[in-house]
Symmetry: D4
Subunit: 163 residues, 8 copies
Amino acid sequence: MKAIARVAVLMGSDSDLPVMEKAEEVLRSFEVGCLSAVASAHRTPQYLRSLIARAERKGVRVFIAGAGGAAHLAGVVASETLLPVIGVPLGSKLSGLDSLLSTVQMPRGIPVATVAIDNAANAALLAVQILSLSDKALAARYEKYRRDLTRSVIAKAKARRSR
Amino acid sequence: MKAIARVAVLMGSDSDLPVMEKAEEVLRSFEVGCLSAVASAHRTPQYLRSLIARAERKGVRVFIAGAGGAAHLAGVVASETLLPVIGVPLGSKLSGLDSLLSTVQMPRGIPVATVAIDNAANAALLAVQILSLSDKALAARYEKYRRDLTRSVIAKAKARRSR
Amino acid sequence: MKAIARVAVLMGSDSDLPVMEKAEEVLRSFEVGCLSAVASAHRTPQYLRSLIARAERKGVRVFIAGAGGAAHLAGVVASETLLPVIGVPLGSKLSGLDSLLSTVQMPRGIPVATVAIDNAANAALLAVQILSLSDKALAARYEKYRRDLTRSVIAKAKARRSR
Amino acid sequence: MKAIARVAVLMGSDSDLPVMEKAEEVLRSFEVGCLSAVASAHRTPQYLRSLIARAERKGVRVFIAGAGGAAHLAGVVASETLLPVIGVPLGSKLSGLDSLLSTVQMPRGIPVATVAIDNAANAALLAVQILSLSDKALAARYEKYRRDLTRSVIAKAKARRSR
Amino acid sequence: MKAIARVAVLMGSDSDLPVMEKAEEVLRSFEVGCLSAVASAHRTPQYLRSLIARAERKGVRVFIAGAGGAAHLAGVVASETLLPVIGVPLGSKLSGLDSLLSTVQMPRGIPVATVAIDNAANAALLAVQILSLSDKALAARYEKYRRDLTRSVIAKAKARRSR
Amino acid sequence: MKAIARVAVLMGSDSDLPVMEKAEEVLRSFEVGCLSAVASAHRTPQYLRSLIARAERKGVRVFIAGAGGAAHLAGVVASETLLPVIGVPLGSKLSGLDSLLSTVQMPRGIPVATVAIDNAANAALLAVQILSLSDKALAARYEKYRRDLTRSVIAKAKARRSR
Amino acid sequence: MKAIARVAVLMGSDSDLPVMEKAEEVLRSFEVGCLSAVASAHRTPQYLRSLIARAERKGVRVFIAGAGGAAHLAGVVASETLLPVIGVPLGSKLSGLDSLLSTVQMPRGIPVATVAIDNAANAALLAVQILSLSDKALAARYEKYRRDLTRSVIAKAKARRSR
Amino acid sequence: MKAIARVAVLMGSDSDLPVMEKAEEVLRSFEVGCLSAVASAHRTPQYLRSLIARAERKGVRVFIAGAGGAAHLAGVVASETLLPVIGVPLGSKLSGLDSLLSTVQMPRGIPVATVAIDNAANAALLAVQILSLSDKALAARYEKYRRDLTRSVIAKAKARRSR
């Protein structure tokens, strides 16, 4: 149900979808409503601003923005909202190094919470951690996720050892 | 009053203090209680874990961790807590490139919200944004901060123009 | 006389002034009117947009934008105007590599004409070349500049040889 | 019609053609006459100079030069003409980082307007922006291009949302 | 026979197995008992610590740890043991540069003996060199290995020459 | 007493002494006899080989080699001995990145145990860890060192907290 | 005829052959006798030295050495001969950046004439240029090669234009 | 005596003199006549060509060219002469990485013999090695230089040991 979206997943181009939909999948698995949209900081600046405003009205509390190259999307979103913004640097001709530096090296005053190159899943998990601070049910689901993550790594490790 | 610390500011070495105390100053200016500690992921792993546990008991909701070189501090903190962790890559012999990559390139499951090299102030502002989601008074202070930031840049710009 | 400014020199912070005023000096030496302003893509996005609009109304034909780190200024200006935008990546903790990549790696549709790190003089010279296409007097001054540049290098070279 | 070419698209080797012909396509779509030629700064320096002179006589107002590796083509063209020169760094064994630095880091006096790695389309768009300053019909076509670009991104975004 | 394992080969994820099993192969060819395990510094920190303790009890004298991205595994192992730790930086989206810097740039007090990117075989050979200091039979096998290595390179070289 | 040197500390040039003597200091503090020598892989290859042979005759069990730029010293030592070789990449015009890559990226068969840029102290500590495997008294001193290291970090941390 | 080899083409591993045989082809096309050999600076140092000595006795005047990763081959050859040594950095996991820096950043006293990554053909052409200084027939062949190179680029360019 | 100059030392700007005059000093110490000149590939292309032609007429057999940033000087010289060209990448805002890549990554057909960043002395020594191939007296002086180099390193090493 989009109506109660708490996270907005934005990306600079629809070619970014295969990477960024990992964020949506993770959010869905945590039952965190999200809206997702393609909006370029450079090609559709005005539309992007209206999207941000609409997202805030719909109840969005955290933004996730993925972009590659001179990746300004997360920074531009951060400059237009007071909410936390998580940046996902996307792979590029320079292996994402340009995307990473363009996303993370923000000036004093306007931070972007940057995660690893192409790691949209971690952006969603960070959003979950942030929302969990004021949502005990979500916090419980996240705690279970981490416990399961640990268990599955150990189970695989043990299965391997007993071969 | 440290008793109600909501943010823990950790750093890998006391030589990191001049950079990391900017985070404390910002938090103080927002009236966000914080505790700060030196704890090395490599030299004092057990002490670090006890610090994290104690911080959580004291009410900390967000961790900030600054380290340089093979900067594992933020990642190790993130592996020991369910709370959001903000990483500050610190300058180094390689200008902080090693610190940045060691902090941001976390594997799926355990994100670190990375800010710009040496930008401890932005780490604190990101913590403020996160805490503001469930603290209206703080949200108001942050809104004022952003308004003032905008105004001061514009004021300086206008002063310059009218020379 | 600002009234007939043909080039706008923008910079992200007043700490960028010592580098960016080289652009103003060069433009002045070519008798090209310019306006210069501090406006941050991130801290004052709305003010920046109003500045761009006002600059266009005042007759600006070319924008020069200098910024460092996650240097979005030139890209944001380019997304808000149809005029040519010249980007100057400014030195940074990473020697300007982040500024360069953030400025030059623009996506299809919105180019930024990027010059060398900290080379605000060249940004101004490029603006002069562009304006010279429809201003014969300026073209003549630029031709003279290049002739003088060549001569002064050769003169110095010869002076040295005859030592 | 080559006779009224306003842009010359030069490239260092015919293996660069698949990338550089994007520039020709864009120029053609804007009805900007262009001539295109292979000419190596290193293998055919004299031929390159004669090409530049002939291009100027034919009415060329802007040069676009694409090259990879130790990419000197744009810089050499810039040293032989007073017209604006746009450089396209081409992909290489080092992902185009060498091409980018060789193209953009020009010394004071001789700028090259550098665009993103392999982004020949943006080089053409920049040429269009420059020529539009003194060609109202072209300016109108460019304005329409930008409007269409914005619309198509938004249309795709909306189509996606209504799925 | 795992019971007398002298080397522990750890890796951060089972996707690292194809690279890291080269270490096991080399150790086996030297008749050096080893145990191998998947254990993530970030996803299973407690399990990793118990693994390290158990490995020490089983007689392990040298640790080999391979990880990619923000590769903290070797550093975390080094912080939990007094034994020598050899780090293998694994290939990544950034070609292993992030893994290399995260592994090698350790702070004073806690070294990690880092080998080349993806070169698990060399990690094993380094372990063999270390263990050879107090095991004459192993030292003899290593000496033979080096002699054979030299011979096989020369044999191939000569075969080629006489073609 | 040089006669029972167990570690040889080699460096490519006497300008490397200020960094490399940290290794000697650490070794001395652990009562590990060492010999130190300047020997360039490139300028004195034959002398270097005779040094290595003499060092082995004197009882050296571990080599430490520090060099900068195209830092071949550690690799050349590793090719001439069967003993473990620890490489220290030294700072350079490229901040030690060239030294690091030249030292660590060794081919299969001939590993170099590389430590952080300029971190000669860690090279010595790694040598101590290696020698401790067959020297209980040294192992005890190293255990004490690590305990003291942990304590001193915690003591400083606590002192700071109680301010 | 190997007997009058004037250039020795060395490579670190037989996997380097597909790249390095380009050097042999170029030398053959200039009728410059060459010998080629696989010899690792690290795995067969003594054999390498005997190869260098034998090559000198056979009349070799220029060495070409290609290697990847921690590419010490050219430097080691340069340290063992008084003749000019040309280094070819070979592609690697780090795209040849490590090979390039390991080859070119030689210390004062022992230069290596480094050519582009994987450009064995240029190494051969440089050898031809060097040998041409005292061989008029070869100089004439090289002059013809350059003339033909220029012509073929221009011919292709003209063919394209007249399409 | 300039009349019998065998090496031409060119540099892109007179600010390069402090580095490049090391080449002249070395050549002088080997009694190799040289001429030195400032000539920019970009600012004085025609003058540069006339300089090259004049140098050849004066008997120059080897060119040395030092430049920084988008360092095209060596490549441009190489495209205008059939003689061997040695490139010296000069330090820059990017520590000389841009200069190095611009100098070394030459395309097939036109090699530049590149030495280490700022290492003008090695450029001169390489020129001496090349000229020595057809000048026995010079070869003898170079052999003595190398012997002395070795001796002085060993003497310093021994002096240190006997302290």
